[in-house]
Amino acid sequence: MAISFSVHSYRGGTGKSTTTANLAVMLALYGKSVATIDLDLTSPGLHVIYQVNQSQMRATLNDYIFGKAALEDAVVDLTNQLGLPRGKLYFLGASMKPEEIAKLMREGYSESFFKEVTKQLSEAYNVDYVIFDTHPGLIEDTLLAILSSDISLMLMRMDKQDITGTYVTAQVLSKFGKTSYVVLNMVPPEMADKPELITEVSKLLNVSVIGVIPFYPEILQHRSRGVFILRHPRHPYSRRIKEIADFIIKNLRG
């Protein structure tokens, strides 16, 4: 069965969706079959980066969760659309309709959803990885996503609020014995390549740091118009994403 990841951050605006989209594409470029699921249900954004129109989705993730549509109707195959020369990339997008968002927020999703969707994606599409782009913060549904996936990737910015929130999150996850890793994002450039940074963060959170991504103004200028690493494969950002993908492929097992 596929390995499932949750990509999480304590704060919003940490670059979760950007990292998820680029990491998924990088894994696909390694020849892997990857499915990404937009679980940031109150403010879905992955479809913007992938440039998927709502009209392209025959059904949404919300429809699938409520048993109204088959997985096959909710999955969008992005492999050709993104021009990926190898690998496969699939996407399950959340609804942007306020009434459907409200319904899901009110009712929450079933604990069995995560295992079931991962199992079904493995059966139907032979995926190697399922990546859940979660809603930020320490809310129950997000913790359910983190704890129900095989591996948790926490994104953290180097500001006090995010460091404190990630610390608290790491403490909660440790109570459940969850395997977690940290990726530092938007790190001030003067700090990014200091080996002490990784040591100090790992020591504080008691979690391994598997990636450090400096702040690149080009990412902001890109304004989520497409997948950055496909447009700028030689940019240092792409190298940083590749390092994280290398770690995942070499080290992580479900």
């Binding site: 088959a70 997985l71 604990e111 139907a124 002490e196 100090e200």
Partner: protein
């Protein structure tokens, strides 16, 4: 050409909720019962930030000394 391996359609059954284990309940319990000592956390984070500042200023100092040395050698 379809990339799908298995032609059978896959549905999620929302009624699976009733067969759930107790993870959601355990999360709820953990969140409600956690005794977070924010004072302790803040002091740890502040100490971490101070260490980083020290590391950065030490490196700045090393860099400026190296630059002076290079200027002297030039």
């Amino acid at each position: 050409m379809s990339s799908k391996v298995n032609k059978k359609k896959h549905y999620f059954s929302p009624s699976a909720r009733s067969k759930e284990s107790d993870l959601r309940a355990r999360i709820s319990k953990a969140l409600m019962s956690v005794q977070t000592d924010m004072g302790n956390i803040e002091s740890k984070v502040s100490a971490f930030e101070k260490r980083l500042e020290e590391i950065l200023s030490r490196l700045d100092d090393l860099e400026s000394r190296l630059k002076k040395l290079e200027d002297l050698l030039d």
